[in-house]
């Protein structure tokens, strides 16, 4: 029997289970896009059959990082930019968990950029949601890695001289096996993409466009948006890297020109997740490490048995 009763629990899960009766009121500003991510996630989780005790939501720092304060599951609110390494290890220690990592564009593409590249490259089995509001929200509106060129803020008073980072292209290049963009203003698509991402066996990167009405007043609220899967104007094969890359390039350029394109951009179901690869080479045990500590019959190897080579 598992030491974690919650894991593999087959019962029907109600969305309300993720919203307990008494929890802190979100401190997000009225109209903030972050509310939509929370809502979509609460709707998606029951649909993938996960109950709150099997879910570990790991976040970084920023307005976005507060996601798990309002999601009634297990949570780890880490430090700025470090949600991914914490999340990865939790998944390696207990692959039975549904691990979701989340943070902002500053958190994920700035300070945590290195972790993003390597988590995608290794294709860890998890969902990574980046709340992309094109600014640093919590620290009051400074320019972020996705702010448009020319963006004026207190720290770039003359307008940013930098081109914005291209998160979708970066996710794809780094090796993510699922890359999508959705927007707070499109709740149905957001929910569906979250479900797909959680069901995807590998690193699922979601660039989630979240408006910040407080610091990015000029920013469009990401409407009207176009769903590339719904529109006849865009025809590409999401399993083809090259076509996906071209589509991403177009999407990322268009965002700053007023055309908001969303949808799935790359889906690779063939590539095994890191966990699977590691298991194949014999570096990840079949039984979760975390379980062994609760199993009284587990036999623990001793260093004494290794001493022969030293005698």
């Amino acid at each position: 029997m598992s030491a974690f009763n919650a894991i593999g629990d087959e019962r029907e899960v109600d969305s309300n289970e993720y919203t307990a009766g008494v929890e802190p009121q979100p401190t997000w500003c009225p109209g903030c896009g972050d509310f939509s991510v929370l809502k979509a996630l609460k709707q998606a989780l029951p649909e993938v059959g996960r109950n709150p005790e099997e879910v570990l939501c790991v976040t970084g720092i920023g307005c976005s990082g507060k996601l798990n304060s309002y999601l009634d599951s297990y949570g780890f609110h880490t430090i700025h930019g470090r949600s991914l390494p914490v999340a990865r290890a939790a998944k390696l220690a207990n692959p039975g968990l549904e691990v979701i990592a989340a943070g902002g564009d500053g958190d994920g593409y700035g300070i945590g950029g290195n972790h993003f590249i390597h988590s995608a490259r290794e294709n860890h089995d998890m969902t990574y949601i980046v709340f992309n509001n094109e600014v640093f929200g919590l620290t009051k509106g400074q320019t972020s890695p996705t702010s448009p060129k020319g963006h004026k803020s207190k720290t770039q008073p003359s307008g940013s001289a930098k081109d914005p980072l291209r998160p979708l292209s970066l996710g794809l290049t780094a090796g993510a096996s699922y890359v999508a963009r959705t927007a707070a203003v499109n709740p149905n698509q957001a929910k569906e993409i979250l479900i797909e991402a959680m069901e995807h066996d590998g690193f699922a990167h979601i660039d989630f466009l979240t408006q910040c009405p407080t610091w990015n007043k000029d920013a469009r609220q990401y409407v009207p948006y176009v769903d590339v899967q719904e529109s006849d104007d865009y025809d590409f094969d999401v399993t083809d890297r090259r076509e996906a890359a071209e589509m991403m390039y177009e999407t990322e350029s268009a965002l700053y020109e007023g055309t908001v394109l969303t949808g799935r951009y790359y889906v690779d179901e063939e590539r095994p997740s890191y966990q699977e690869e590691k298991r194949t080479v014999g570096e990840l045990p079949d039984e979760p490490i975390a379980e062994r500590y609760f199993d009284e019959d587990s036999e623990w190897e001793r260093s004494y048995d290794l001493l022969e080579r030293h005698t």
Partner: protein
Amino acid sequence: MSNDELIWRIAGGSGDGIDSTSQNFAKALMRSGLHVFTHRHYPSRIRGGHTYVEIRAAGHEVQSRGDGYNFLLALGDSFARNPQEDAYYGNEELKPLSENLDELREGGVIVYDEGLLTEDDVAELDLEARAEENDWYVYPVDLRGLAKEHGREVMRNTAGVGVTAALIDMDLAHIEDLMEDAMSGDVLEANLAILHEAHDMVEAEFDEVPELTVPTGEHDAAQALLSGSNAIAYGAIDAGCRFISGYPMTPWTDVFTILSQNFPDMGGVAEQVEDEIAAAALAVGASHAGAKAMSGSSGGGFALMSEPLGLAEMTETPIVLLESMRAGPSTGMPTKPEQGDLEFVLYTSQGDSARVVFAPGNVEEAYEQTRLAFEIAYDYQIPTILIYDQKLSGENTNVSVDFFDREPNPDLGSTLTEAELKEAAHDASGKFERFGYDDNEKGVSPRSIPGQAGGRYLATGNEHSPVGHISEDPDNRVFQMDRRLEKLEHIRDDLDEGETNQTYVGPDDAEYGIITWGSSQGAVFEAVSRLNDDDHSVRAVSVSDMMPFPETELTEFIEGVDEAMVVEMNATAQFRGLIQKELGRYGEKLTSLLKYNGNPFEPAEIVEGYEINVDGGEAEPSAQVRIEPAAGD
């Protein structure tokens, strides 16, 4: 010359097989009943460059590299044959011979490879005159030719070992055994042939034998030859650690490698990741999810870990971190030991942060304190750090095999089962009061593991309420802060009740004290034995508990002596500063003996430092050490 110890130095280039040869020779000496201690000197270069390994072997216990050495096997450096005269590193072929002469004792033995060094080269060194002056015995042997004749050039190591054995009258049986364990087929045959031929050649060609012979001894129990890194890795295994994450950096890499190689067979996980911030963050994540987890690095890498270290403190996630020091600041001297990161390790991270820091002083302590570090980390939900250095990382010494015959300890400490969680306090929303402060023992509030039914909570690096919600409530802040800090006092009490981690030598009523920490222990202890044999009255303590500090023990020690000298490998007397800070006095009673040239202390330097201090501290030390007077002096 006395035959009570052999200190054999094999010198050559990195990549010449010096390491494996010396490891085998040390084992052969251990198997013949001797106590051994190795010291490795190497530059930060992969191939070539002057490197040596010293093996000290004696019938009695040995705790340090000793003073100087008495047998040099100078191999040619095969990577030093630089065709360009003015190449950056110059022509280094002669270095294995030329660089090592200063420390060779009177009456010592030199064997050099005639097959690689021409007579002209050697003439440059004035070797004959120096040999006469120092009563050295010099044996030029064509090791390379011999090796090539029966196998390949690299086997000249084996030829050198054969020559050594013949000169010191050592039985070849143990060496043959080891070769048979390590190789087979043609390679084994060639090596055995070389070994014997080299041995016989000495007897045939050289009439004069040195006065040095191999010492004799006997062990009462089976012995194993291992390094501090081995001991730490094995301590972790026996503590139930099954998760390690890291990024390579010398000398921490040794432990990382050993565990990476062993974990797959033990159902554990090892992860090499993108940087040290990630490495420590992974350890936090794995521990949070219910594994016993470890990470570590050396100076610069540890600097990057300061953030996740603080996160572990605030979220009360147990982790063990290693800090294997090398000479700093910055990249410093990657392959040279120093004890210069103490203050950094004690205080890195913002806020009133609390962690436990142990500094093992020898191989056995390294094993013991690694186990203890895990126990405390998981019982108290606090990060614990082992600080040690390049010297302890790499030195090999013999330890009785029985020492490791202990039960493993896979206990997750203060972690609840699902059944216990049912009884535990929950708030109105059903969240588990993971950080409750009413009902805790010794400041510890037991945790749940994600996936457990009834255990939901939020871990956060922000200050938080009992269920983990971000909270700036002043009362809660004070409660949580006090509770986290309270742990340290209880840990100190527990440590004081158990067997002490501090080690002492010398009579209880000695007049003079020496205080040291970490890997300087061995040299200090040998110096103290020597001093007491010469009718001085000296007692030494090697301190392992850096935080929480063993206040009572150290106070007693210092009160018991007239004055004391603190010996450590750094330039700013960091440990002496810690003692004065923790005890709040004794500035006038403590002097320092400091060494920071990249080489560890030799016992003679400590004896000399003692003599100078006892004499009023005016004289200049002969070696590269520094004396730092007492406050007010």
